[in-house]
């Protein structure tokens, strides 16, 4: 799967979690801009993991601050 289609899938998944309708850009941060708390992070990560059949460990999550970094990490896991 190429980066563009991963991007569009993640955009769909993020919608119900984006309660304030923040415009999603590469540099949008989960903690700051989207105001995800730890519970939201868990549910959101689980949704991504299930969609792509991957694991995003907490160690990896610690390195992912922005939307763009998440798309990159998923793209990388898809080989």
């Amino acid at each position: 799967m190429d980066r563009a289609s991963i991007d569009s899938k993640i955009r769909t998944i993020i919608e119900p979690f984006n309660k304030k309708g923040v415009a999603i850009e590469e540099g949008t941060t989960f903690a700051g801009d989207l105001e995800f708390d730890s519970l939201t992070v868990m549910d959101f990560v689980a949704a991504i993991e299930d969609e792509f059949d991957i694991i995003i460990s907490m160690n990896q999550q610690a390195e992912i601050e922005t939307y763009g970094q998440l798309v990159d990490a998923v793209a990388k896991s898809q080989g």
């Binding site: 519970l39 868990m42 993991e49 059949d53 694991i55 460990s57 907490m58």
Partner: protein, 405 residues
């Protein structure tokens, strides 16, 4: 002269919690986190902030703290072995009493190895961080106790949480772990915030089918749940499939300390490689003597277990009938969690209970799941049936006074 450089105050990061606390206290409630017990009268009664109070939030499930045999054993050890060991278990800190305490644990659980730590926190911290190393995976419930999370943070393994008690979510994550990686599944028998139990029969089977080792923290079930009081693992019939049981002496056993029991043939090496075991002083002789005596008495505590179940069922049923919202639909352990609408009203209810002479735990975010505010009640086998009725009466009056019910 150089200009003064402004550096950030390292305490700035605590400003949010400081202001949350100030707001709470400004509303006039008694501080729920600085209660002092001036006198302890029994496992179920104390003088708290000057008031005679029924204790319903102590984890003293089996009421062993004032048992005459246990106190005598502690006094004897204090006289014979002194006030402390002043040393690590692997140097000068292993006395006869530490070995006897480990013997009692092996017998209690009918397992080959037992290792006593200075606290339950250190047992989780030490075992998890030591056995799961770089490249290994720890799969754990998202509502795990802080000591489990800290054990994960201290080690180098990949940490993969799953939704609380969600068997399918756990299985999916186990199946996605790369081939060849070591796997440790960490579960708890009883989750202490809501008092609910894990579906261990299913979870342990799935973990083993996927080649994982299994560690179960039975801190809140020891002495009470299961035919021999070995915990939810015993009740679920999966004792033989669990690789490690972690427990504590600070609940049913009635003192302080932690342990891990295991049948793993190489388990004894933990004594040399587990840093929270090596780099700390061992428990005082009086503590291990009281623990060993208590553990042996817990083996014969069938009647107490039955009475504690009666207490738990009555309190759960009574609070439900009064209209309180509880953490579980049915009583699953000796913990009954009453869900409060928010921290402010939870603190007001907590204070109303205390002024009527009842102590419970006020649990608040971030220690609670889903940011709930809870009034956590933990029952004791020494609460009489009449005391449970008194407790229900206090809940009714306080609940109405604060308009929670």
């Amino acid at each position: 002269m150089s200009e003064t450089i402004t550096t950030p105050d390292l305490f700035a990061k605590f400003d949010d919690i400081i202001s949350m606390r100030e707001q709470l206290l400004a509303s006039g409630v008694e501080d729920p986190f600085s209660l002092v017990m001036e006198k302890v009268l029994s496992p179920t009664r104390a003088i708290c902030n000057g008031r005679d109070t029924i204790l319903l939030g102590t984890y003293n499930y089996m009421g062993m703290t004032f048992d005459p045999d246990i106190i005598a054993a502690g006094q004897q050890a204090l006289a014979d072995f002194g006030s402390g060991t002043t040393g690590s278990r692997v140097l000068n800190g292993t006395y006869q009493g530490h070995k006897e305490c480990e013997d009692a644990l092996r017998e209690f659980y009918d397992m080959d190895h037992a290792m006593v730590f200075s606290t339950g926190y250190q047992a989780n911290l030490g075992i998890i961080s030591t056995i799961a190393g770089k490249g290994d995976y720890v799969v754990l419930d998202i509502d795990s106790h802080a000591s489990i999370w800290d054990g994960c943070a201290m080690g180098n393994a990949e940490i993969v949480p799953f939704k609380h008690n969600d068997v399918a979510a756990m299985e999916k994550r186990l199946k996605r772990i790369p081939e060849g990686a070591g796997k440790l599944v960490v579960l708890e028998g009883v989750y202490s915030m809501l008092g609910d139990i894990a579906p261990l029969a299913e979870m342990v089977k799935i973990a083993k089918d996927n080649g994982a080792m299994v560690l179960v923290d039975e801190a809140h079930s020891m002495g009470f749940i299961g035919e021999h009081g070995r915990g939810v693992v015993e009740d679920a019939g999966v004792m033989d499939d669990v690789d490690f049981i972690i427990g504590t002496f600070s609940k049913s056993v009635g003192t302080v300390g932690g342990f891990c029991v295991s049948n793993h043939p190489k388990f004894e090496i933990m004594r040399l490689v587990c840093r929270p075991y090596v780099f700390t002083a061992s428990l005082p002789p009086s503590v291990v003597a009281t623990a060993a005596t208590s553990i042996r008495k817990l083996m014969q505590a069938g009647e107490k277990r039955a009475h504690l179940w009666d207490n738990s069922k009555r309190l759960h049923g009574g609070l439900t009938d009064l209209g309180f919202d509880l953490g579980t639909d049915k009583p699953q352990s000796a913990i009954v969690a009453v869900i409060m609408p928010d921290l402010q009203r939870g603190a007001a209810m907590w204070e109303a209970l205390l002024s009527e002479g009842l102590y419970v735990n006020l649990a608040r975010p971030p220690a609670t799941p889903a940011n709930m505010t809870l009034l956590r009640c933990s029952l004791c086998a020494e609460h009489t049936a009449e005391e449970v009725e008194t407790i229900l009466g206090i809940f009714e009056r306080a609940g109405k006074a604060t308009k929670i019910i």
